[in-house]
Symmetry: C2
Subunit: 312 residues, 2 copies
């Protein structure tokens, strides 16, 4: 499967992604093998409230990348996205060029496993697409609650998409979305209130202190007609250049490498400890001792810890 | 502080609870010390949707316990409960007998730290009340989402409180609440639809297969007047007797001891590993090696694991 993957087989890529999503133990060997191939793709996160037109924007942005000769991977975490098969069939019919273009790979993420698990797998699915050689990876997520924060960690550039008519619900959401936006996109900008929304966002952006020298631009788009999409990609490219020139890219890489090692270590610690028959025997023993009044749960946990941790 | 606690000082009890809530490291020593005193209190969970009259029911149930000569601890996890100071002052004024009775200890839980953390601390606060010698501990939680499941794990008997007018929102909630109810309480049962709700619950209860021989009874109450509260406590006592006679109590104790040891071990594993200077040095080293292309995050995590885990 790996040699087919290296040969550019989309089918092999798809199958590796399924392994990464569903089989944690097998996933490790694959990701380790693919690791030297990773690190070249530019990862773009597209987030925002439901109804902001994210899917249409992703489609147009994908096409614009293709026009510029870049290969594209699309990962849809939003279960209502047409990329996930969650919306009307009509949406899929409207974007046949993407679905049949060999330069585009579309993957939707299953939503089981909770928010944290979902985001974790998303990063790994992007890693596979990265190793597959995609120039651009576009991650579409619905911006409600915690998800967008996790995704901001997985993307190099996060685009927050808002629309003029979003109204009050969005006001309360904005605070969190403002934090993570490297770029802002006012979509459906042919509607009333677009300029006011642009000004509002610009004011909020200015109020926020920045240490890295990047002022998030606000781009107006009409995704349905493609208006502004080319300008959006120009700004994304400018952000990428900024990240590389300022050293932020390598700093980010260092930080994400660190947290990846920490998370893997903690996950495997838990797994390995409870897989050891001597530890499970000891646990059963200690449970009985607690019930007999001979020890306490606190001392029992300490005893297991002493057994499993090597001396420093 | 511990000798004052043993002497029955409510102030010392209050301070120990604060330590347990806020200082994990100090908490362990205290809980370990108190452990032999725990295990005598009967823990009753009261849950249900907002507006079901849970706080008033808790108050009346607390009084009924006092009438029967039992000491009472009340732990309010619901932030809107008058016990938490979250409701109108009038609510507190209506229940002065509880607030001034030396046989009653009332504690409200802070809501920071997320759902999981909240429930974990709740168990430990109940442990302190248990060691303090309370006969009955009543835990009030609002039954929305995940909280009630965690609380069901902390209580011996879980009472699900519903009201006739709860309507559609409750319908969807019922499935989850039906699972955890050892007893059902139809409160405000002087209102229209009470008998229909009782029948609905009885039907759902019958449909559910039981392995432990306990059929959850449905009790009608009017908490504001106290109607049915004595019958409710009778049924709770019957449930306690059933748990003890059937062996379910000891089985539950075994299961909760086991998961307590597992959780403590995992928490301390994480804590101890990243506190070791040799491990953090190694981590910094490995991060650099990954950035230099000399290893991968997967091999790095394996290397740390090999360093910290003792051979079995």
């Amino acid at each position: 499967m790996l040699s087919e993957f290296r040969g550019g087989s989309k089918r092999a890529c798809s199958r590796l992604m399924s392994v990464v999503e569903n089989e944690p133990d097998a996933a490790t060997a694959i990701l380790d093998e693919l690791y030297p191939l990773m690190g070249r793709a530019f990862r773009i996160g597209i987030t925002g409230p439901p109804g902001a037109g994210k899917s249409t924007l992703v489609e147009k942005l994908g096409r614009e990348c293709r026009n510029r000769g870049r290969t594209v991977g699309i990962v849809a975490v939003d279960p209502t996205s047409p990329f996930s098969g969650g919306a009307l069939l009509g949406d899929r019919v409207r974007m046949p060029s993407l679905f049949t273009d060999p330069g585009v790979f579309i993957r939707s993420m299953a939503t089981r496993g909770g928010v944290g698990g979902l985001a974790a797998r998303t990063k790994e699915v992007c890693d596979v697409l990265d190793a597959f050689g995609r120039d651009c990876i576009i991650i579409e997520t619905v911006g409600v609650g915690q998800v967008e924060l996790d995704i901001a960690g997985a993307a190099h550039s996060t685009v927050v998409v808002l629309v003029p008519e979003s109204g009050d619900g969005i006001q309360t959401m904005k605070a969190g979305l403002m934090e993570i936006g490297d770029l802002f996109c006012v979509n459906k900008s042919d509607r009333d209130g677009a300029d006011r929304l642009v000004m509002e966002i610009e004011t909020m952006v200015e109020m926020k202190a920045r240490t890295n020298g990047w002022v998030p631009p606000v781009v107006k788009t009409v995704a349905t007609t493609g208006l502004g999409v080319s300008a959006l990609l120009d700004r994304l490219d400018a952000h990428k250049t900024h990240l590389e020139a300022s050293g932020a890219m390598i700093e980010r890489k260092r930080e994400s490498t660190r947290s990846e090692i920490v998370e893997l270590t903690e996950e495997w610690l838990r797994r390995d400890v409870w897989r050891r028959p001597d530890v499970t025997d000891r646990l059963a023993d200690l449970v009985q001792q607690v019930l007999d009044g001979d020890t306490t749960p606190y001392r029992a946990a300490e005893a297991i810890l002493k057994d499993v941790l090597a001396a420093s």
